[in-house]
Every structure is written in structure tokens, then in C-alpha cells.
Amino acid sequence: MSEAALSSSPTGASRSPLRTAAPQSGFAPWKDPSKTPMVRFENVVKRFGDFVAVKDCTLDIYEREFFALLGPSGCGKTTLLRMLAGFEKPTSGRILVAGQDITELAPYDRPVNMMFQSYALFPHMTVEQNIGFGLKQDGMPKDQIAQRVEETMAMLELSKFGKRKPHQLSGGQQQRVALARAIAKKPRIVLLDEPLGALDKRLRQTAQFELMGIQERTGTTFIIVTHDQEEAMTVSSRIAVMDHGEFVQIATPGDIYEAPNSRYTANFIGDVNLFEGKVVNVAGGFAEIDWGPGLARFKAVAPEGCAGQQQVWLALRPEKIHIDLDKPTDASNALPGKVVDVGYLGSISHYHVELANGQRVKALRTNSSRTVDRPISWEDKVWLQWPAETGIVLAK
């Protein structure tokens, strides 16, 4: 896709706030080898003494992307972000912004602005002064600063609070001021370090959509660091899942969920059932997996390079499993079991089903009708079934 095609394509529509986790069709600059990435990490390594925080990371992030670095605390995601902002220097490797090496630039000379986890609002300045701080550093004339500050405050519905000090604001307002300050300079890249971590769940969801709206309107590249997988799924165009200073998988939210490349990703994003087994036969694109003596073999789509006798794990999302009281007649995979736990959540119900070998399996069922003839309950003998296409065979 060429530059012109990108700008004319309705990226805005495809990335509306109501978009689900399904991959969007129009916006995928990472598939275009002719594009220069906005940010490039090139074999970046960061050590703190003996501790290796980031191990040889290479990553391209493109213009207008909303990119998420996702992982548990201590996985190196914040260090990566701080190296991009200039607060940490890579032990080795390079960082490029729009093709230009910025590895040696001081933080105050970089075209990136950051929204801090603790917000780091200047307590002795008003909201206006906080937002205008970066513009003042660039020597922008006062009237232009005032105008830009006003625009930014209007965009984030902060106009009423311009004269207040940070401690006179609620948590949600402080968060918006921090965001306003980071975007006021119209930087090429905005970095967000756990930006919504301090908000309660309800406020967080609203703030996520607000973030997406702002990112879309400004057309800026956003890079967010988060440990919250739901947040990453909601806001981002692509996610890099990190563990122990390495990227485990870099893909769109949809691919990460539907096609995880490892048990780590499958486990980290959403709920999953894992069955350990051995490939015994590959035929017609399908693999047969033996997962225990006396147990019916699984049938699943064989991944590339899948060979016989390979140890694999079958990953199965709970909502992909159909739970029924009667034995299915023509299913590729069917397992008998006993319900040991039921969780009724209104819209859906969770079932924990114990199989003959003692393993427990989670299954979901949408409560689509108000009355069910006979709801599935504790101690019920049930059958679990799923088509061969829904299970994912993982080699690691």
C-alpha cells in the first residue's frame, strides 16, 4: 500500500471506538515493506548490572499506529519505553525515529512526549501552565501558547479547570491533564506508561475510548505500556507481548487472541484450556493428537512444519467449546465429563467440567434465551465438543 493509498483509505472508520477485537482490514502498514517505520528498535539490549532488562529486541512501529507493549511487571516493557524517551541509554543497539538515529539524543531533544504513570504533573503550576510547559521550552510566542493550550484543553474537556492546580482535580481529570500535556507539543510519537493504572475500572473503560479518539483525531503514533491485556486489546492496532525482556509475539489483537504462537501468549491473553499431547498423524492439513492412553484423539488444524511424534499443546478458548447434555453425533472432537462448578454471570455462564482423567476444562455458554428447558447444573454428565478448526496446536 502506498503512502497516498494510506491517507485516502478510511482508517478512521475502520478504527472506530466500537471496533471489536477483530482485525481491521484497511490499516496494516507493517505489511508494506516500502514504508519507513516511525520507530525502529534495532538489536536493543539493556542491562542493569547483572540483570538483563531487555534482550536483543528488534521492532518496527509505524506512523499512526496505536502500539501496545504488553507483559507482566518486570518484563522490560517500561525499560523499552524509557529508552525511547531517552531516560535510559541502551547498552547496545540503536533506536531510530523516522529513519534518524536518536540513540545518543538527550530526552529534551527528542520528538517524543510521554504520559507518565504517576502523571508527574508539576504541582506548583496550574493546569494551563502544565499543558503549556513544553511549548514554553520551544520558545513559542505567548499568544500562540495560550491558543494551543486552549485548543488542547477543549479537546480533553478541561477548559473549566485551566486555573486549577493538580491537587484540586479528580484522578480522571489529572489523567486528562497529563495526556493534554503530552500531546500539546504535537509530537510525532506519544508514549503512555500505564496511563490508566490509577483509575477505577469503569473510568478506565471510558478513558480507553477517549485515548483512542484522541489518537485518531491527532493522527499521532501512540505507544502504550500496559500489563492489562483487556486494555491492550481494546486500544491497540498491534500488540507486542513481552516476557523476560523478549518479544514473545507481535501481532494484531485479533491474531494474538485467535492465533497465539505459544502457551505463554495464549495464557496471558484471555482464558484458555491447554491439553498436552503428541502428534501421531498428519493428513489433509489436520493433525491427530494423542493426549493419553484410552482417550479419544484430538483432531486439529496442523500448523506449518508439524511432524509426527512432536510434543504439542492444544489450546482451546472456553467460548469455542459447545457444552451439551446429549452426546453429539457428528463432531470432530467430543469429550464426556461432569460439571463440577457453574458460575452464572447474567449474560453468560461459566462451566468447569471434569474429564475422565481428572483434568478440568472451562467452557462458556451464552444465555441467549430467558428460560432454558433444563439448565445444565452441578453433577450433570455433559458432552464437550468443538470443530477441528477452533483448536490451536502450539509447539512451545
Binding site: D109, N113, S118, A120, F133, Q137, D138, K185
Partner: protein, 293 residues
């Protein structure tokens, strides 16, 4: 009931031994000197009526103080010396406090301890230590002459310079500690945020660090300026006869001339001079405490 008992014990103690004495000082400043023991006309003579009591009061001692250049000069000189040494102390203390606040966390308690430690040793002894260093044949001159920096010994002892050095030295911990406390509280992320928004380190200092350390600067300046204004030991031991300071004048008036009423009047005027900075200091402290909650 128990609450009132709890309140009244320290309250009464301070009223009797701290507040009431000031009224007595004021009363005596209005009476006449007498060659007796105690060397002034009685304060409480309950035999006379209120009218007579009031008619006996006069402001003669105050007229005397304000007409005698010795006292007026002592006040101004004390304020000047205290003011200049407060600024100098701030300049000396700031880099130290800054360095401490930026030091590795595990070092900080030790550094604070090392600042406090000299404060525990006697004030008098610490001032005394400087005599041996500053006097004409003292260690500083000896050192500098051996180095060949100077050929003639410097005259520092018994000059205002010696008093400045003495005040800076003695009051340094009082400046460092509040400065350190407010510098240490500054979230390092604020400086990162400033840098991130385009401010180089020296600009960040003036835009972020210094304004946020102002409560500490104020507290430290008050803690140095107020007691330094009434300082006696330092000008007496290091300043020589040429350095006028009101604390020294008061001491001389009391112990030398044994003129208690004039000494009292001097004290009352000194207190009036200091009342504004004292009240400012206290409201600054109250504000800090409110903010801390």
C-alpha cells in the same frame, strides 16, 4: 475532664514560664533603674491603685534606646549581619542538600545523620574551634602561608567576616535539613517530565526543582535569620569589639552595666523586630503541615 487535664499541664507550664515572663520584661522596661537588688523599682506593688500603677509607667528607657546611636546601630547591624549570613548559608547549604537528596537512597540516612551530628556537639565549642583557625597566628593563616598563597597573615578574627563564617558554620544544619526535606520529596518523574517536554537540566532546575524547594528555603531562612539576629556567642567570641550586634549589646547592658530596665527595653524592641518573621515562619510551618496531610 481528662482531656482538659492533659491540655492544661503543658499549657500552664508554657504560660507561666514562657509567656508571662514576656509581660514582666515589658513591665520592667517601663520602670527605672535603682541601685538595689534587684536593681530596679518594684514591679508588683499591690499597695497602690491601678491609676497610680499606670501613672508610674513611662517610656523613658525606649526614648533612651532610640536616641542613643549605639542601640540603633546594634539593631541595624544585627539585622544586616543576620540577613547577609542567611543568604550565604543558603548558598552554602543548597548544593549540599541537593547532593544529599540525589544521593543513592541507602546512603541518605547516613548523610542526614552526619549533618545532624555536629549540631549535637556544643555550640560554644564549635564557635571556639574557629578561634584557633581564624586568629592571626591561627591554623588558616599558617596553612595559607605555608602554601605560599599569602605572605602576610590575613586579619579575619574580630571582623564581621569572622562572624559570617561563625554563623554559617553554626547554623548550616538548620538550613540543610529543611532544604533536604523538601528536595527529597520531589518526585524524580517531574524532572523526567520536564526533560521529556524539552527542558534541559539547568532550566529544569529553575522551573521545577527550585520552585518546589521553596518551602524548605523559607523554613531554613527563618530558622537561621531569627536566632542569628539575637545571636550573642558568635559576635562576642569572633566579632571583637568592633562588631555590633544587638544580642551582644543586650548582654553587656545586663551583665556589664547591670541596667535591667534598659536591657528589658532592648529585649522588647528586639522581640518587636522579630515578631513579623516569627509569625511568618509559623504560618509557613502550619501551611506545610496542612499540605502534608
Amino acid at each position: 475532664m481528662r482531656r482538659w487535664l492533659l491540655i492544661s499541664v503543658p499549657y500552664l507550664w508554657l504560660l507561666v514560664f514562657f509567656l508571662i515572663p514576656f509581660f514582666i520584661v515589658f513591665k520592667i522596661s517601663l520602670s527605672d533603674i535603682a541601685t538595689a537588688i534587684p536593681p530596679y523599682t518594684p514591679v508588683f506593688d499591690f499597695s497602690m491603685g491601678i491609676g497610680e500603677f499606670i501613672s508610674k509607667l513611662d517610656f523613658e528607657n525606649y526614648r533612651f534606646i532610640f536616641n542613643d546611636s549605639l542601640y540603633v546601630n546594634s539593631y541595624f547591624s544585627a539585622l544586616k549581619i543576620a540577613g547577609i549570613s542567611t543568604v550565604l548559608t543558603l548558598l552554602v547549604a543548597y548544593p549540599i542538600a541537593y547532593g544529599m537528596a540525589r544521593a543513592p537512597k541507602e546512603w541518605q540516612p547516613t548523610l542526614v545523620m552526619l549533618v545532624i551530628l555536629p549540631f549535637w556537639t556544643s555550640f560554644l565549642i564549635r564557635v571556639y574551634a574557629w578561634i584557633g583557625i581564624l586568629k592571626k597566628e591561627g591554623l588558616l593563616n599558617l596553612f595559607l602561608m605555608n602554601l605560599g598563597v599569602i605572605s602576610e597573615p590575613l586579619t579575619i578574627m574580630n571582623t564581621p567576616l569572622a562572624v559570617y563564617i561563625g554563623i554559617i558554620y553554626s547554623y548550616l544544619p538548620f538550613m540543610i535539613l529543611p532544604l533536604y526535606a523538601s528536595l527529597e520529596k520531589i518526585n524524580p518523574a517531574l524532572l523526567e517530565a520536564a526533560a521529556d517536554l524539552g527542558s534541559p537540566p539547568w532550566k529544569s532546575f529553575w522551573q521545577v526543582t527550585f520552585p518546589l524547594s521553596l518551602p524548605g528555603v523559607l523554613a531554613g531562612c527563618f530558622l537561621v535569620f531569627i536566632p542569628a539576629t539575637g545571636e550573642f556567642v558568635i559576635p562576642d567570641l569572633l566579632g571583637g569589639s568592633d562588631t555590633l550586634m544587638i544580642g551582644k549589646t543586650l548582654w553587656g547592658e545586663f551583665f556589664g552595666n547591670r541596667d535591667w530596665p534598659v536591657a528589658s527595653a532592648v529585649a522588647v524592641v528586639l522581640l518587636l523586630v522579630l515578631v513579623i518573621p516569627i509569625v511568618m515562619f509559623q504560618s509557613n510551618q502550619e501551611k506545610e503541615r496542612e499540605a502534608a496531610r
